[in-house]
Structure formats: C-alpha cells, structure tokens
Symmetry: C2
Subunit: 251 residues, 2 copies
Amino acid sequence: MNSTRTATAAMLAIGDELLSGRTKDKNIGQLADMLFLAGIDLKEVRIVGDEEAAIVEALNALRGRYDYVFTSGGIGPTHDDITADAVARAFGVSCIHDPLAMDLLAAMYARRDMEFNEARQRMARMPEGARHIENPVSTAPGFHIGNVYVMAGVPQVFTAMLGTVVPHLEGGRPMLSRSVASPFGEGDIGTPLAAIQKKHPETSIGSYPRFESGRFSTEIVIRSAEESPADAAERDIMAMIAEIAAAKAGI
Amino acid sequence: MNSTRTATAAMLAIGDELLSGRTKDKNIGQLADMLFLAGIDLKEVRIVGDEEAAIVEALNALRGRYDYVFTSGGIGPTHDDITADAVARAFGVSCIHDPLAMDLLAAMYARRDMEFNEARQRMARMPEGARHIENPVSTAPGFHIGNVYVMAGVPQVFTAMLGTVVPHLEGGRPMLSRSVASPFGEGDIGTPLAAIQKKHPETSIGSYPRFESGRFSTEIVIRSAEESPADAAERDIMAMIAEIAAAKAGI
C-alpha cells in the first residue's frame, strides 16, 4: 500500500433477509464507525442476496478497487450460508473444511456435550489458504484471504470479529472531525456555506439536514487532516451563523 | 416489462455521512419493507459518497440491470447535493432548473415570507425531461427519469415520497411469507432443513439466527407464490422441530 495516501475500504453485506426487509442491517453503521476512528476511508457498500454469482461478481469488483473489503453474513451452518464457497470461487481456490477450525469446533461441541454434526461442520469451511478471524462470542471463526475479511452477520459476532481485525489494518490516517449544529436549514446556509468550502479547500465540509417538529436544522461537519484549516473553517461557519441569526432577528 | 416474471429493483443510497458512520441509514430497510409488500424483488443495494463519478457509475450499472432503481440523498440546497447533476450526466441530458418546481418552491417560500435564494433554487434542479415525485412533507420534489426514482435522504421525506411512488409501480407479485420460530440454533436444524428445502423446490426457505443471552435460536422463513407448497414445507418444518425437541428431551 502506498503510505502517502489513506487506505480505502468497501463492505459487502450478504443476505436475502436484508433485501426483504426482514432484518434491518446494523453492521454497515458499525463498520463505518470503526473505520472512521481508524482513519480508513470507507468508499462503497453493496448488499446482495444469498446467490453465489451475485456475491462473486460484487466481491471481485470491490477487491480489485479498494485496499480492504469486509463482508458480513452467510457463514453459518445452514444451506443458505454460501459465502465461503463464493469467496473461494472469487479467488479461484477450493473451499475446504479447514483442519484448525474443525479442531476448534469439535472441542467446543465436546465441552458442551453437543453433536458436531454435518451442519455444524459447515462452519469450518473456508477457502484453502485463508487465515482465521477469531470469534470471541461463539467460536466459529471468520476468515481472511487476500484483502477480503469475511465475518458473521449476527451483529454481536460481526462487531466482535471486527474488533480483532481493525487494530491490525495498515494505512489508516485519522481525520479530525468538527461538528457545528446550525439552527438554520440548508436553504439558509447553502449559498454562504458553498463559499466557505471554496475558501478552505484543505477541508471537506458536509451538511446534514435534520427535520424535527416541522422545522429543518442542519449539522455542519468539517473534516481535515490538520488542526489549523479546520479551525479557520469553523470560525467562518460561526460568523455565517451569527450573520444569519442577526438578519432573522432584524438586528 | 415481461408480465410473467416478478419486477426487480435496486437501491442507490448517496451520501458521505452514510460511509463515515455519522448517519445510520434508515431508508434501505424502509424501501425493502415497502417493496416486499408490493411483491417487487429488491436484488441489490449500493451506498456511495457525494462523488459524481461514483454516482454515475453505480447508477448506470444498476439501471441497466434492474426494472427499477431508487436513490436516496443529495437533492438538497447545499454544495454537496450533486445527485441531480449526476443523474443528468448518467442519462446524457442537461440538468436544468425545472420551471414547475421553481413555481412550486417560489410560492411556498412566498407564503412563508422566506427568501427564495440561489441555494433554495438548487432544489428545483433536475434532468431535462424528468417528472416530479411529490413531496408531501417539505414541498421540494424528487423526480423520476427512465426507470430511476430520485428521492430525498431525510427519512421522513424519503418515506413520504416512496409512498407516492410505490402504488404505481408495475410488475409486483406479492409472495406469501410464513415465519416459524425455532428454539434451536442453526447447528441443530441445518442438516434437516437443507433436506426440507430440497424436497420443496417451489419454496424459498431462509433461516435467520438470533443470539440472545448466550444462546442461538433461529427464525425460519418460507416464501412461496402459492399457498399449498408453503403449507407442505411448514408441516415438514414443524415435524423437524418436534423430532429435535423429542431427542433433546430424551423421549
């Protein structure tokens, strides 16, 4: 990875239940939060169903374009859990019952006096050559191969796996982020805010409308790698708010 | 559209705030729910940031592949609202201040004694030839062009706009959906459930793991266009649960 630029990432969330509305995804927001703190730039997210061809195509598009790809879902023990097969196919390798994962799971089920049956053995399947991602919640590991990190869809497990992965990622460059709550909607601030963005090109200024009790307000967010451009932009935004407020108050 | 198959759809959610974690998307789940009820098959979702090239590329990929594409975000009055420009570019047409939208907004701001300034006029911009999507919440319309429906990102507005669009979509074929709560995790039901899916190919059986208080359980969902295959699959699932429960009880 080129050390002078910020690492980029994509996410592929896998599961029919996300597309039918049955499950409301929580993992995208979780990944976004954790990558933001690590200073890695999440550039794109895709959600596809439990269809091998769709998973393979999306994965190959994303892994060629971004430094890291994180997937969620489809690594459980049932017939619709096909992520391991799809990832193996995307990388052109075999999908095997990983011996170390078989040992881990066999020991766990023996301890709990439960049968280590064919379905549970599915959870040991991964592309040949993949390395484990530890699962501190329920043992069955995720895995990573190349720049792709494959994790469970159950949010508690996804988050725990991500917690073991993110601290080891390279290329992060944490960005400063300042937030200013504007009592005025985007219609009031749009024109002056565009001028402020133009004046401070080292910053990235976003505005996020809120709509509550029939009124719009705005959260203005300044992002920057350095303190001083963020400070300068923040001062201009405060001056803008003062000016609009004074005009509304008839001062 | 071929009337013998179910219409397909994709969603493109647009906004840096979704990728930085600042905003947790609520629109994907809302669209998924409404399309499911309308019997339209949501096949893919993508999230991209406020970058014209990324929006154009995703939009062109999705609109060529699915019957309908729904977008959220980027149609407000600020400099980072660039969805109208990107959609116009994807369709190879000009992005104009739509005269009817200008009239609607001018009248609304006149009634509220607010200035109809340059920023607010941005909300009247849309690709030449686009038709309005009514905004019952805050007036500024969305628009549709070809098979693409462009809506606001603020959830209350997105949902209201969607409510005016979905009843008019063609090609929906509502699916029956039955849900069975299994007290057993996927490890217990995986092997027999795969056999049940194989026996009932007219149905699509999914299983969704839950993890609560340190235990896994599963929601099993049967989808089918017709009643009788769903009934038959449901009976076999109940028999499977009875058998596992009896084995666990040592009966």
